[in-house]
Amino acid sequence: MISVEDIRKSFGPLEVIKGVSFNVSQGEVVCIIGPSGSGKSTILRCINGLETYNSGAITFDGIKIDPGDKSIVNVRTQLSMVFQRFNLFPHRTALENVIEGPVQVKREKKADAMERGRELLDKVGLSGKLDAYPGSLSGGQQQRVAIARALAMRPKAILFDEPTSALDPELVGEVLSVMRDLANEGMTMVVVTHEMGFAREVADRVLFLESGVIMEEGSASELLRNPKHERTKDFLHRVINPLE
């Protein structure tokens, strides 16, 4: 469904993605792990057309991702993204945030969109917060609204960029459990995360990215239990034992 073929990306003189390829098929959950600055966010942003790439090709359902082309709007309505810092619209309530895309972009009837918006907020455990503004919600609640906003587009796949990294530790679980439910329902997901427990339990495949290249990739159990590459071992060791 998502195909990334040998993409390269530079910011000025600095090449940050140095030939990355992978595929994500329908219903698959792929986790991307790797140290800070390795290019994880950049890859997701390229897939969503928020960033241009210098060479290679990304396609979604056979459509080439081209941030400069009108087709990107169509792609984005089918490929949602959830951000580290939630990025809700602060001047709109939880429900208004969720229906914004369906009503303004997909031109759904407002009443229908509200109905479904309520269902989605209920699904992420926020039926009591329909009319709350983002500023009055906790980080975990905001991120769940953001997930509902992504789902409201009825996407074929969702990209998550470190969705729990900005959360207080006790709020991480509520967001991960919503994501696990989605995975169990068969949603196609690409998740950049440092939550190894989540990757182990939910991911079909894990990619280890370092300095703009995929160093190692494999099934979650394989890569996380028996990493082959020294760098992967190092990284996992540091994530699991941060004080050593």
């Binding site: 928020l50 709007v73 984005r76 990025n87 619209f89 001047h91 914004e100």
Partner: protein, 217 residues
């Protein structure tokens, strides 16, 4: 003293006519400068280098020429090029253009204060640039822009007196005309000053109120 009041009463109707024109000029140029200012601001933050360049060039030119010279240019020079405007039209267009440059700076600051993450989130649900401007940026920018906007209106109210130099019979001009025929400078200009104050003070309170209201949110 009663003599003073009697003379005031005599000048009052003429000055009120001036007040009416002052209000017309102020409102007209507030309207024009807001629309144009918004256009420059949107151009200034657009992706197109050309649009950004046009906006920057225009603002630089406008800010570098005294308003009174701009007014003279529009009223006295344009007719030579075949563009004839009434004094009132020239006054509103001149002040509107001049102030659009200041408004643009204010609007641009408001637009740029919106967190980039929200704009990316809006893109990621398929919103186009125009939709993002209308649904995400402008509704939030308004809160940031309103208090300085109030100050701009007050400044425009006072600077509307500049159009007296191109024969628009607004408050200042009426004052000058009465004073030069009666030599009663003291009474006339005291009245003129009080009338400006009567218009500006409520606006000042309104602006302070807006500042307080939006400073907290």
């Amino acid at each position: 003293m009663s003599d003073y009041l009697a003379r005031s009463a005599q000048y009052f109707p003429l000055l009120l006519e001036g007040v009416t024109l002052t209000i017309v000029v102020t409102l007209g140029s507030v309207f024009l400068s807001s629309i144009l200012g918004l256009v420059w601001a949107i151009m200034a933050v657009s992706k197109s280098r050309i649009l950004r360049g046009i906006s920057r060039t225009f603002i630089t030119i406008i800010r570098g020429i005294p308003i009174i010279v701009q007014l003279f240019y529009i009223y006295f020079v344009l007719p030579e090029l075949g563009v004839n405007l009434t004094a009132l039209q020239a006054g509103i267009i001149g002040l509107g253009l001049a102030y659009s440059a200041y408004q643009a700076e204010n609007f641009r600051a408001g637009i740029e204060a919106i967190d980039k993450g929200q704009i990316e989130a809006a893109h990621s649900i398929g919103m186009t640039d125009g939709l993002i401007m209308r649904r995400v940026i402008l509704p939030q920018a308004v809160r940031i822009v309103l208090p300085p906007f109030g100050n701009t209106i007050i400044m425009l109210l006072k600077d509307s007196s500049l159009v007296s130099t191109i024969t628009v019979a607004e408050l200042t001009r009426q004052g000058q005309l009465i004073a030069s025929s009666t030599f009663d400078n003291m009474t006339v200009f005291t009245l003129v000053a009080l009338m400006y104050l009567a218009m500006a003070v409520p606006l000042t309170f309104l602006t302070r109120h807006l500042e307080k209201r939006y400073a907290t949110s």
